[in-house]
Amino acid sequence: MSVSLLSLSVCLWLAASMPKHQKAVFRRQPGPLLSKILRLSVWALMFLCCLLWVDMLGISIGLSVAVVVLGLLSAVPLLLLTWKPAAILPTAVVTLLAGGVALLVF
């Protein structure tokens, strides 16, 4: 559950970090430094997610599940960006916090 929530937050943050969508998500264009930090953090989070899937299911099954899950969950930011871009940021924050807390607690 915690890994799924984190995976969802990765997809949402990935969408938010893309230059094309930044204005719609943050309502203004973040500076280049902030943009870079955001992008690096997203990739770090994605790496962490993959590690968690691998830790849970072993290397071959874990990696394949991680790739499939991340791809499928990418449909959520796609739908939000199409009809409700303002919801991306709060959803990303909530899922990240919920996933992080669940990971630490359980």
């Binding site: 969408a15 893309m18 094309k20 969508h21 072993g58 071959s60 099954i61 394949s64 599940v65 790739v67 499939v68 899950v69 791809g71 499928l72 990418s74 449909a75 930011p77 796609l78 739908l79 960006l81 199409t82």
Partner: protein, 540 residues
């Protein structure tokens, strides 16, 4: 080509290959994707197709084993071989098989009974092959020799792989437009839908296509086996360590086993020992020579690695020698490991419900990708002059409707046949298949007599009505209905009915959109500035 004519660029050339390698086989690819996607839940669908089994209770592995052993001891004590398939998350009913002295031990042979794991009573499930039929259709098609069918499927899979690779090359903004969908924009919307369903789960599409090719590689590229083993595939497999690859054997201590306490007690103690080692439990138990020197074999449910083709471990006890052996997949060579991982990923034998759902959703995305590709081809050309009379475009339009909607419609008709054809009819399972093909044939005939947009709408509506009515009909069957399944926590019945309802709703929405698009000629007489629905993405 004249000197002055501009050469098409690399991307354009790929775009041409993308279109023309996929289009001739696109309907076959749609069939392969859809039936393959449904086959991820073949065991679950098979259970859903037999309402007589739905009253079975859910029991623990120990309880079920107790009942199965009791049944076999009472009804097949002199048999030469027993096989027990224990209930699991994919099928709550257990199956026992036994083979008499003169019977060969084969996969589907012998006598078999399905048992209620709580009461041990025999459950008489109706004769149905529909789930199996959909599964075989995925790679063997129907009614044509197996080898020919697999060649056709192999060529289609190759076309799919070419389509995927050229699609990646053609899609110049693959990363920039990763999360992009622009609705109500006609051709652009179809393009976005095709790209999104293709790109979001691209690793899955590549993996499932490539692994499908790998599974057919001995047929498509037979020269290695032909030259080294004279085409003897069995000899090749034997030299490669069997289908799953090489195995490693380890003798275990028999300390806790109930040796000498009778066969049932011995099997139970083996199962208890295995439960410490296998968290997902036991999938199958086989007992050879149960009346004499029994050889007991327990097989693990699921697997921890794909290197052994998603195959679990085995525990074998030989009564004569008193030896307990653990057989586990050994690390294969690189070539074999590559084949095993890809085959394991495609066949999904290792997977639990979560992974099956992921595959199912990805498979649906792939099906939608193929369908939107077929529609996009027509939408792109429908604005061109003379498209209405162009034979090729008309043929693609016709095949699009009769396959993209007709095939799901035929599948739902097959499910209805399963429910309505009387249980005692001779060749009952064949009738399900006949009705499937009859419904599909009707979906080919229907557009010949109806205007195009009406035909799309009507077939979508027919699918929605049939799919929505099935869960309602199930309610009348008592234990098979959604409320009863909800009360029992039977997720297989619940999710099948919920998927049907969801698909029916989606189909109704599509029918409504198409119906609006069909009114476009009237809408086009509206004053300027009022947007025509036809330009908002109707199916041409």
């Amino acid at each position: 080509m004249s000197r002055g004519a501009k050469q098409p660029g690399f991307r354009q050339s790929n775009s041409w290959i993308h279109t023309w390698s996929s289009l001739p086989l696109i309907w076959l690819l749609y069939l392969i994707f859809l039936t393959g996607t449904l086959s991820f839940f073949r065991a679950e669908l098979d259970y859903w197709l037999q309402p007589e089994l739905h009253s079975a209770g859910q029991a623990s592995e120990d309880q079920a084993l107790e009942r199965a052993l009791g049944f076999l001891a009472g009804n097949a004590a002199d048999a030469r071989h027993w096989r027990i398939e224990l209930p699991g998350q994919r099928n709550p009913v257990m199956e026992v098989n036994w083979f008499e002295a003169d019977e060969p031990i084969t996969r589907g042979g012998g006598q078999s009974r399905q048992l209620d794991p709580i009461s041990g009573e025999v459950l008489e499930g109706r004769e149905t092959w529909f789930a199996h039929f959909l599964y075989r259709m995925h790679f063997d098609l129907y009614g044509i020799p197996r080898e020919v069918a697999r060649w056709i499927v192999g060529i289609a899979t190759m076309a799919m792989l070419i389509g995927l690779i050229t699609g990646i090359v053609t899609h110049k903004k693959i990363l920039k437009e990763f999360f992009t969908f622009r609705p109500h924009k006609g051709q652009r919307s179809w393009n976005d839908a095709h790209n999104a369903t293709g790109v979001l789960v691209l690793p899955f599409h590549l993996m499932i296509t490539l692994s499908g090719l790998f599974l057919l590689m001995y047929l498509l590229v037979p020269w290695g086996v032909n030259s080294m083993f004279d085409g003897d595939f069995r000899a090749y497999m034997e030299s490669a360590g069997g289908r799953g690859g090489p195995e490693r054997e380890q003798v275990l201590p028999t300390g806790d086993l109930a040796v000498g306490a009778g066969l049932p007690a011995l099997v139970r103690s083996l199962q208890a020992q295995s439960s410490l080692r296998w968290p997902q439990g036991v999938d199958r138990i086989e007992v050879d020579d149960p009346a004499g020197n029994a050889v007991i074999e327990l097989r693990e449910r699921g697997a921890g690695s794909l290197l052994g083709r998603g195959r679990g471990e085995e525990l074998i006890y030989q009564s004569e020698s008193g030896q307990l052996t653990l057989v586990e997949p050994a690390d294969p060579g690189v070539a074999r490991a590559t084949y095993n991982v890809l085959a394991g990923l495609h066949l999904l034998r290792f997977a639990g419900p979560l992974q099956r759902w992921l595959y199912f959703l990805c498979g649906l995305a792939g099906t939608v990708m193929v369908a939107t590709g077929a529609i996009l081809w027509v939408v792109k050309r429908s604005r061109k002059k003379g498209s209405e009379t162009h034979r090729g475009i008309r043929l693609v339009r016709y095949l699009n409707l009769s396959t993209l909607v007709g095939l799901p419609l035929a599948i739902v008709a097959g499910l209805w046949a399963n429910r309505l054809v009387p249980v005692d009819v001779v060749d009952r399972s064949q009738w399900e298949i006949r009705i499937f093909f009859l419904a599909w044939l009707l979906s080919f005939v229907h557009p010949l007599f109806r205007p195009r947009s009406r035909a799309w709408t009507e077939q979508c509506q027919a699918f929605a009505v049939l799919a929505l009515a099935l869960p309602l009909y199930n309610v009348m069957l008592g234990a098979s209905g959604l409320p009863a399944a909800l009360m029992r926590g039977d997720w297989i019945l619940m999710s099948t009915d919920l998927v049907l309802i969801t698909l029916a709703v989606v189909s109704l929405i599509i029918a409504r959109m198409l119906s609006r698009a069909g009114e476009a000629p009237a809408a086009s007489r509206r004053p300027k500035g009022v947007r025509s629905v036809a330009n908002q993405g109707g199916v041409s």
